[in-house]
Amino acid sequence: MAQTRFPSPFDIPTPEGAEGWEELYTYSLPFSEDRREYEESMFWFQDGIHWGQALMPWDATFYEFAIASLSQYNTRHYIIPPALGVDYRVLNGYCYLSPVGVADPDEVTRRVPHFLERAGFYFGNWNDLYGKWMDKIRALIDRMEALSFDPLPEMEDIEVVTGGRGMGSGRDILARYHELVDLALVLWQHHFEFLNLGYAAYLDYFGFCKQAFPNIPDLAIARMVAGIEVDLFRPNEELKRLAKLAVELGVADKLMSGTVVEVVASLEASDEGRRWLAEWEEVKQPWFNFSAGGGFYHSDDIWIEKLEIPMGYLRGYIAKVQNGEDIERPIEEVRAERDRIVAEYTELLSTDEDREAFQQKLGLARVVFPYVENHNFYVEHWGHSVLWRKMRELGRVFVKEGFFTDENDIFYLRRDEVPEALWDMYSAWAVGTSPRGPKYWPREIERRRKILDVLSAWSPPKALGQPPEVVTEPFTIMLWGITSDSVNMWLGAGDGGEDEGSTLHGFAASPGVAEGPARVIFTADEIGTVQPGEILVAPITAPAWAPIFGTIAATVTDIGGMMSHAAIVCREYGLPAVTGTAFATRDIKTGQRIRVDGSSGTVTILG
């Protein structure tokens, strides 16, 4: 028997050894008796797309900033008629979201004229505003880059005195931390400036296509708007360019072995080598500000901090080039194919009136789509990459003062605790005595580490609370891929569904059929274990995994909606893919032969 509701968040026990986990997060994040009645009446789903692992205290910052910013645009900026924001909580370290609708139909109606005015302005001036967005985001990242965190000086510079500055380095480091947090919030405010409206326009076009052609593949709808040159894919494209350049310049062999430091040293020895290195340095900013994961965890590797990652992919491309393989994307063919698809569906429409409507909706979807694809690079990859780096810089200051043993210990602090620790450091520096931190924080961090280890090993339920009769909230469906089907699937799976372990159903994310041995991986660190011809099975995939898409046979993920980054990337690289299967990493074991049908959205475990 399938269940009829998900467990109440209040019935989920704290794993043994994780007692007190609530203190690791802002007081408003855990479920609490104070709001029990409301919280039990809602439907909560675990957001594994962005936060599939237990959250470190400071990492919760971007979770809170992201979801509050998303919500704010729905609720307060554009007055999306039927949708308020998305409520969010943390349970045992895991993120749970709950879309909030506008219950009163009269209120929905009252919101419509405001939406028309506000959204109308954005749609009417989209390209102009998007141009400004690009300027804003680059200026913002420049400001982040300009932040620096240095140890407090033995004595202030003479200029502080002779310039009559009237304040000192302790205050500066506090101010800079506050600025960093503020810039991070601005980053997330900018992230959603266009996204919700972009999704709305896309959904309208999507709905039109589905109404005209009830059986049209989602993929066809996506292909008609998909960008040809997308910033999110630039890092990978740049690696291909560097690979070809290395072969052209005759320095490829020098690149094929050794550490990055050794490679650089050997290239420095020749003119051609130096020419190649100049290009490599040029590409790093900004394109190597690229997370090997989703960018939401400080522990996600970032190319620019771990050059061995892009170097590994680069070597793969060099080998292909030397093998005479064409690694270029056939841009002209992709364009011609996109035009053909549009022309054929246009012809199949019933009336000229429909053709006109289709052109209009497709046109708007194409206007908004570059933002939908590109923002991810600027915010989650580039922006976050700089922020994580600056936080580590601050972490090193604490290490030097004996507060922490590792720069990453800073992420065991909540964002509101960092100023307290800074205050402790500053105040002792000011007084000329010892701070409490070096005694207090190592003990506290050790305690927190143990709690987080327990939480990391815990498996969060897919959903909590009262399931909705139907899922209608547009952004929930678009971004998270939560539909009535998936809710029912989760309900049915609690007791082990009938065909558990043999067939999985998900989204037909990218067409084609492939059969091969499965490779189940959970983190970006394991990417190196994937062998050519294997089928990648993972909770999600990240844009940065693109370079291995040329060697694997197919991809299967647990989670992902139509517009999840994983789905976009799979489509872009033409890799057979089934996303949103819910249980692939649980039911499939590495080495098992599986059959992936990216056209029908099914995965069969053959044995």
């Binding site: 008629p81 309208d204 052609f213 066809a220 539909t483 139509m562």
Partner: protein, 369 residues
């Protein structure tokens, strides 16, 4: 001119009068990428070579001139006499050679010795490109071997002088001498699987899809609704299989060893196997789509997957006719508001169930009719 043979896949428009309407249409379909079962036409020149033999010519003339066409018995007698005459005449060597060679080539193409063929009559005349009506002249199925093909060719020729044909021409005022006969020789399809394909979804009228019903053996089982067929929906633009339902197919109609059509039970393990591979499904869909483009309106296509033909050429079109249910309905626009109003409507309408391709059940039956 080497004269007597025109292959369907070598047909060009100036052959029309030499091969008759039936073979011309098979040739045109082949050229349009609609792969009918392979074969060739034996041109009217072959018939004329025999018919214009002075002895036959004068005998036929005098026999036809002397008979009272309203006297059924007398007409039957004259008809039998003329048919005997044609059946007994010696066929010129080069006709025999060319037909024998063409049949041998067909056998080779199919990779089968003595490939079974249908031998059909196609009456024609200079100003009457299709001077026959259905069932008027002879058709022979499951003909094997060059000798039999030649024998049936002769029967087709002489069927121009069946009593019915003579009296039909008389009523229509056609001159017996100007009517000629071409013979179509076409491979008999021996289907591993067969079925129908609609170039729209019969359930909802969606014109972006091809709906295919398929089962083991001959398509009669599907057309007659005697079996629950496998059912597929294929997108016409990307040729993605958007829905699939594999049914339990308990019986099949197939061609037995003695060329007889028989109804047999399907082995248990084969009952629930899909009867087409994904590539074959797409090939059927492409074929149906080409038929739709060729005829300019949605089509209802009968197709088969022939065991004798090589992969890539084994899906053949048996018949294509206009779809009649949805095609007759007026095509109305989707009333969906434009611009911002459209976006508001989208946000307000429940989207669930329309977003996300979760493919499972729910493909309707297209076959039973």
């Amino acid at each position: 001119m080497n004269g007597y043979i025109v292959w369907f896949d070598g047909y060009s428009d100036h052959d029309r009068i030499r091969v008759g309407g039936k073979s011309a249409s098979l040739g045109e379909m082949t050229a349009a990428g609609l792969p009918v079962p392979p074969g060739f036409a034996i041109t009217t020149e072959a018939y004329h070579t025999l018919r214009n033999h002075p002895e036959i010519r004068s005998r036929v003339h005098s026999l036809l001139g002397s008979v009272d066409l309203l006297d059924a018995d007398a007409l039957e007698g004259v008809s039998a006499e003329i048919r005997r005459l044609i059946d007994a005449a010696e066929i010129p060597r080069d006709i025999v050679d060319q037909v024998t060679d063409a049949y041998a080539e067909l056998c080779e193409r199919c990779g089968v010795e003595d490939v079974p063929v249908a031998v059909r009559s196609s009456a024609t005349a200079e100003d009457l490109p299709d001077a026959s009506f259905a069932g008027e002249h002879d058709t022979y199925l499951w003909v094997r071997g060059a000798d039999q093909v030649l024998a049936k060719m002769r029967r087709c020729w002489s069927s121009l002088f069946s009593a019915r044909a003579i009296s039909y021409r008389h009523e229509m005022g056609h001159d017996h001498d100007v009517i000629s006969m071409s013979v179509a020789v076409q491979k008999m399809v021996v289907p591993r699987a067969a079925g129908v394909a609609f170039t729209l979804n019969p359930l909802d009228g969606d014109r972006s899809t091809v709906a295919i019903d398929a089962s083991w053996g001959l398509g009669e089982a599907v057309v007659g609704g005697e079996v629950n067929p496998d059912n597929y929906l294929v997108d016409k633009v990307l040729f993605e299989i958007v829905k699939r339902k594999v049914s339990r197919k308990e019986m099949e109609i197939r061609v037995g060893d003695d060329d007889r059509v028989e109804q047999v039970a399907v082995d248990v393990e084969r009952q629930t196997q899909p009867c087409l591979s994904d590539e074959e499904i797409r090939t059927v869909a492409r074929l149906a789509r080409r038929a739709e483009r060729y005829y300019g309106v949605p089509q209802d296509v009968e197709w088969a997957l022939d065991v004798h033909l090589p992969p890539g050429e084994n899906v053949v079109l048996l018949q294509s006719r206009p779809e009649t249910v949805w095609s007759r309905r007026p095509r109305v626009p989707i009333s969906r508001p434009l611009g911002l109003e459209g976006i508001v409507a989208t946000l307000l309408a429940p989207l669930d169930g329309r977003v996300g391709d979760r493919k499972e059940e729910g493909v309707g039956q297209t076959g039973s009719r």
